[in-house]
Symmetry: C2
Subunit: 288 residues, 2 copies
């Protein structure tokens, strides 16, 4: 057990494939670590300490920025396949042979991809607020995502109140608590988008290109999911407007060994609306 938490874990760096990856690791070491794969435009700072520290009681948690994101060097690639290769290069550099992988949204696409490419590396898979290749409404950003990501927020991080939470009073209140938790780390925060506006915009455009290739229509698009034989937990909110909730159902129906949990009155970040329940559900799943 390290003394570190989400708030205090230092940002470390490791080199692989010519990229200097920024990462943090904390929690109870010695078992299979839980590696987090982040969403579109997110950095290590966007994980919820209530979730990461919740898991860190029982297991080691590893956060990182993939290539070209925030404090990691390199360029954001324009395909999920390349992002998955980078994610594997990063954990290979740390010497991690086996992990439980949690992928949120775009991070869920990346986690699906590296599970297919390198099944030996993954014990169990947790797919949150995500969807399959060619899922419903996934050929481009949804109209709701266009509107939400296109609007201005003051302060800027209130964007996440709309991306992750529903308009309901309860959900918005939960969202404000999430923002407080997420802002609580004061030292050595990851650079936020506004610190270097142009590169962040380019990074976002590259990521959108990757998302659109993943979501593009294809023949028999869900067949690839049969290759993911790891026990998988699929989690989402009831009303995800960024990656429509039906995609979680599609994942569950097409994966050979998947459990699905949908939370009520929830949008894309329902796991931050019900962090204790989410940690309980995932912990049950990981121990099972």
């Amino acid at each position: 057990m390290t003394a570190h938490t989400h708030q205090t874990a230092p940002t470390q760096f490791v080199e692989a494939s010519g990229i200097r990856f920024a990462y943090r690791r904390f929690g109870k070491a010695g078992g299979v670590p839980l590696v987090f794969n982040q969403h579109f435009t997110g950095t290590m700072e966007h994980w919820d300490p209530a979730v990461t520290d919740g898991f860190a009681k029982d297991r080691e948690v590893i956060l990182f920025n993939n290539a070209g994101v925030s404090s990691s060097s390199g360029e954001v690639p324009t395909s999920i396949e390349e992002m998955a290769q980078h994610a594997v290069a990063f954990t290979d550099a740390l010497g991690i042979k086996k992990r439980d992988a949690l992928g949120f949204s775009m991070g869920g696409f990346v986690a699906q991809q590296f599970t297919i490419d390198r099944p030996d590396l993954v014990r169990k898979l947790i797919l949150v607020g995500t969807g399959p290749r060619s899922g419903e409404g996934m050929a481009s950003l949804t109209p709701e995502a266009h509107e939400i990501f296109g609007a201005k927020y003051e302060p800027a991080d209130e964007l996440w109140l709309r991306v992750f939470f529903t308009p309901s009073k309860q959900s918005q209140a939960a969202g404000r608590k999430y923002l407080e938790r997420q802002r609580a780390r004061k030292e050595n925060r990851d650079p936020v988008a506004n610190d270097k506006v142009a590169p962040a915009q380019i990074s976002a455009l590259q990521q959108v290109a990757a998302l659109q290739k993943w979501g593009a229509p294809a023949k028999d698009p869900y067949a690839y999911l049969k290759k993911i034989t790891q026990p998988t937990l699929v989690v989402n909110g009831s009303n995800d407007v960024i990656v429509y909730t039906v995609n979680s159902f599609i994942l569950q129906q097409n994966l050979p060994n998947a459990q699905l949990i949908l939370y009520p009155d929830g949008n894309h970040g329902a796991q931050y609306q019900y962090p204790e329940l989410f940690v309980e559900h995932v912990t049950q799943f990981l121990k099972g």
Copy 2:
């Protein structure tokens, strides 16, 4: 706390609306009881002791046969609405003001109906292997249900291996364990179908009539679900061939406050395939 369990709880009787209802109650008394509403052709004997005794550690469990079923007198009505009225008459007769209601399959239709008719009586709702009015494939028995219920089994209760479990080796093995648990009560078992063949067949036909009215196509069929404001947990297997799994997703998407859990490699009785996990999930939901 009574000393009784699923196996030892005596069958008791209470009169209401001219019906003599058979019931059993056991577990930790004093709080909100959990009342179980049974599926098509099921009696109190078809509940899984691993589930009922699992709940009985923390709360009082009440099982009963609705009108015309097995050890209860009266006639099986040909509508879910009348079954719901009977279910309410039964708990009124026991003086129960508030309950958590678990409805499995047809019992889930009944539980939806009495929650709408008498919302004051229900604190939380658990809907297992069930669906909404006019759900997908619900206008009649599914082709799979026709085939499965129409076949012969020796011993007869092996029917449930096909109704509740998938063809996979793991699921069938879990099914055989369920059958062992379900057969374990030796004293004062409910009369099984074979004891009085004609009435059981008539009872089944009446129940089918009720199911078909519930499932018949209708305009804007899911609007009624907005009236169920109680916290609801919807649970099913990934591959329910009796009430198709998509109906659980439809319930969750249309109920104002519902969580959904789908279990992998599961058919209509997935809660008996994963009884410990199911009890944990429901217990979390009831305490929340």
